[in-house]
């Protein structure tokens, strides 16, 4: 079970540059992540992402965040991924809390 507080720090360090999480938060170079988990018809990412038909959940995010470019070839993200499993778990816990 990840640690959401540690995940918040990871988010600030590695993601906040490009993403906001709160409802109605602005899009930066990446989209606002509100509504990330589960079915989210309004949520789209990149051209590549749309066509892969991804429904984001813990498992899909664990895979994606390890190597975003490999999971969704063609994604515009420059983020290189989180190698440490514990960091991904922490970040996902934070995202679960922050985006819903």
């Amino acid at each position: 079970m990840g640690d959401a507080e540690a995940g918040k720090k990871i988010f600030i360090q590695k993601c906040a540059q490009s993403h906001t999480v709160e409802k109605g938060g602005k899009h930066k170079t990446g989209p606002n992540l509100w509504g990330l988990f589960g079915q989210s018809p309004g949520f789209s990412y990149t051209d590549a992402n749309k066509n892969k038909g991804i429904i984001w959940g813990e498992e899909t995010l664990m895979e994606y965040l390890e190597n975003p470019k490999k999971y969704i070839p063609g994604t515009k993200m420059v983020f290189a991924g989180l190698k440490k499993k514990s960091e991904r778990e922490d970040l996902i816990q934070y995202l679960k809390w922050a985006t819903s």
């Binding site: 540690a6 720090k9 360090q13 051209d47 066509n51 038909g53 470019k69 070839p73 420059v78």
Partner: protein, 347 residues
């Protein structure tokens, strides 16, 4: 080059409103069934009013030519030590170039010349040890340069000449041991500098001097031992400062002077046993909180009188403190193992 035979026509914001969603999804599922319409040896191409977006991964082959309206190009996961030097020929509208996870060992000095409108260059996870002089001579529009996880051991200021619009520079995950003087002297628009995960033991004290107005500075995961008072002085707009996971044993008293916009400070996992009085005063003033917080955990704090100033500051800012349970005293014996907050609260 060969294109995916079912070209997608998409407006940038989402689906084409004239095409019913179900029909679109049906087309998608038919088109993406392997062996039916899509040839896996083809790059994937999208068309929009912005132009062509081309995405190539093995087993597709590198395109031998690019459409003149190519604005976005992805060439990733190839086993290539060099790119064909004219790979961008004709792509004069190119804005984004994603070249991560190849095995590039070197770049031809002219290879970016055909793309003067380039805004984003991602070279994450390649094997570059140097950049050719003149690489960026036509790159006055380039805002984002990512050289993360290459094999740079040294960096020369001249390699970055021409990057007038540079706003985001990521050099993390290389093997840099030291940085040259004047590295950032000509960057007016630089807002984010990521030097995390290198082997930096010292920094030139004038590293951050220049017209740049940094907002984010990543120095985590290096081997810094001392934070001097001159380093951060030229950057009063700094909002995010990551110094965690170094070997910091000494922070100068005036190190954070003038950092009135700091929202996040990470000093965790260093070798700090004590810090000077007055260090924290510039941060979190009345009426202005640090928006995101701070972390001083994972340090061998000696919780004696010398930390009184820190205790006062912690009492005032503790709701912004990360990793409270991991911020503990290593001594003296009487308080060993207690959290700093507990000791601060008992003062």
């Amino acid at each position: 080059m060969s294109f995916w035979s079912g070209q997608q026509y998409q407006s940038p914001g989402g689906f084409d409103p004239q095409l019913p969603r179900t029909l679109f999804l049906l087309l998608l599922s038919v088109a993406s069934a392997r062996g039916v319409t899509q040839n896996p040896k083809d790059c994937v191409a999208f068309q929009s009013e912005k132009g062509s977006s081309i995405s190539c991964h093995p087993p597709a082959e590198l395109p031998s030519s690019l459409p003149a309206d190519t604005f976005h190009l992805v060439l990733e996961l190839f086993n290539l030590t060099q790119l064909p030097p004219d790979i961008l020929k004709g792509a004069s509208k190119l804005q984004e170039l994603h070249l991560s996870s190849n095995r590039l060992e070197s770049l031809a000095a002219e290879f970016l010349l055909p793309a003067p409108q380039l805004r984003v260059l991602d070279l994450t996870r390649n094997a570059l040890t140097r950049l050719p002089p003149g690489l960026f001579q036509a790159s006055a529009a380039l805002e984002t340069v990512v050289l993360k996880e290459n094999q740079l051991e040294v960096l020369e200021a001249s390699w970055l000449h021409g990057l007038k619009a540079l706003g985001f520079l990521d050099l993390s995950g290389n093997r840099l041991r030291k940085l040259p003087a004047g590295l950032l002297a000509n960057f007016t628009l630089l807002r984010t500098l990521d030097l995390g995960g290198n082997q930096l033991e010292t920094l030139p004290p004038d590293l951050l001097r220049g017209p740049l107005r940094l907002q984010r500075l990543h120095l985590e995961g290096n081997r810094l031992q001392v934070l001097g008072k001159e380093l951060l002085e030229p950057q009063p707009d700094l909002r995010y400062l990551f110094l965690n996971d170094n070997k910091l044993a000494k922070v100068a008293a005036g190190a954070f002077r003038g950092l009135r916009q700091l929202d996040m400070l990470d000093l965790s996992n260093n070798s700090l046993a004590s810090v000077p009085e007055g260090l924290w005063a510039p941060l979190a003033q009345p009426g202005r909180d640090m928006q995101d917080g701070f972390d001083i955990s994972g340090n061998p704090w000696i919780c004696d009188q010398k930390l009184n100033d820190l205790y006062r500051w912690l009492e005032a800012t503790k709701d912004k403190m990360f990793s409270q349970n991991a911020t503990r005293c290593a001594g003296p014996e009487a308080v060993k193992g207690q959290t700093l907050l507990a000791v601060a609260g008992s003062q």
